[in-house]
Amino acid sequence: MNRNAAAWLFLAPALLVLGVFFLLPVLAGLGLSLTDYDLYALADFRNLRFVGLANYWDLLHRPLFWAALGHTLYFVIVGVPLSMLASLGTALLLNASAARFKPFFRTALFAPVVTTVVAVAVIWRYLFNTQFGVVNFVLTHLGIPPIDWLGDPHWAMPMIMLFAVWKNFGYNMIILLAGLQAIPTDLYEAARIDGASAWRQFRHITLPALTPILLMVGILTVSGYFQLFAEPYVITEGGPLQSTVSVLYLMYDQGFKWWNMGTASAVAFLLFLVMFAATALMWRFGEGRENLA
């Protein structure tokens, strides 16, 4: 058999699946977002009309879209740094020469990553229950008045951020830990002989060495956090007062609850656009810093 043909035969199953069930739908989605595909079109294809950019135009004039985008940005801008700090902090602890039982701690801290979002979100809803949740019980004991986590629009999103940090920080912790272990120890040795403090060692050896990894991990985490959906779906159902409606939640509601598939597709592409812009900006910013260092 011709080797070229063999290679394409090897590729065929995977490329077929990715082409038919991913690339094709993505292109179709772009088309769909330019139509008024709704319940009537779902029933009878002849009701479908081409509307140009009307879906996008309408969305940009709808307060709920901006609210959803705002909630998602809030979640990303506060949640990602918190999550990265938790990852870096625990990775540094695990990498400390004084740390004992490292494999045990590493596994335990990583455990939430492999759990099912829906299942642990159900736990979270119970932990943060206003009446009989453990969190408020502990707060009351510390002399802090109980917080209406699930009913107060100011507190629902922070609660979801805490959830996301708890669920996800272990992933980046493992990657950062590998990065820390790759830093040659004689660098620290030399710094210690020069009398550099722990903070200065961190600032001038650890941080510069980790910068490329931090950048990559940061970008991946940002794109992951933009896709917020299951958490508000299970914990708050988008409430209270729609304060936890994310962009994807809006897409799901529009598309699969109200069957406004055209509008929902436009929401999806706007999210893609925002994500692309945010991660591209991080790249540019990160590369500039790396060149300076």
Partner: protein, 273 residues
Amino acid sequence: MKPRVHAWLVNGALVACTALVLFPLFWMLSVSFMQPGEANNLPPPMLPLHPTLANYRELFAHAGMGRYFANSLIISTSITLLSLACNTLAGYAFAKLRFAGREKTFGVLIGALVIPAQVAMLPLFLLLKYAGLINSYWAVILPAMASVFGIFLVRQYARGIPGELLEAARVDGAGELRIFIQVVLPLMKPILVTLAVFTFLVAWNDFMWPLIALTGQQHYTLPVGLASLSREHVQDSGLMMAGAVVTVIPVLALFLALQRYYLRGLLLGSVKG
């Protein structure tokens, strides 16, 4: 700082973080064994006074949990086996077979990684609906049968296979498929285990697409079934925690058993390039 004090601080911080991280999981387990209503006491009891399996019995007898469990198992296992086949073939071809358009095709796949999966979901739903596949196992299995991440992972690993080995087999007159099965596959066992664990966990935990594609209760996977139950039984904490335990324990156990393979995949997958 004195080294002893330093050691105490580091290990104390580790213990505190770990306790905080594991508490929700411990609490889930504890409450799942409590009597109905016991979990809604104040102060919340740390351990069940009279441990009972009542919540589990209720879940499997009346809430359809057995069905959801079977659905999850069928779907996740099928996805793992089928995608393993597709991704391994493709990953190996990208790494070791020379053909026109190789770099370009691979570049397109890697480029596609920036597109979030949700962008494809609406047309995918319509496509599968017109094909009559919505609300069947296939609606979830088909789109997951190949993944760029999986292909990438296999490619990274397969690049390490010495080319002389393949050339020698070719000189002996072996066909490409035979080389793949008899020479390449045995060498790739470790990465296949890694990819299998990864794929199974992702398939088992997946929520948004199954929620969209599985519209009837008889096909619900565990996460979809649990989310739907949790909307009906908001106040029944014991029952919900038992549901969480049933959903989480299989993946936690799988991870603990094959941790080494899983973490390697995580690190390999994060080194783009």
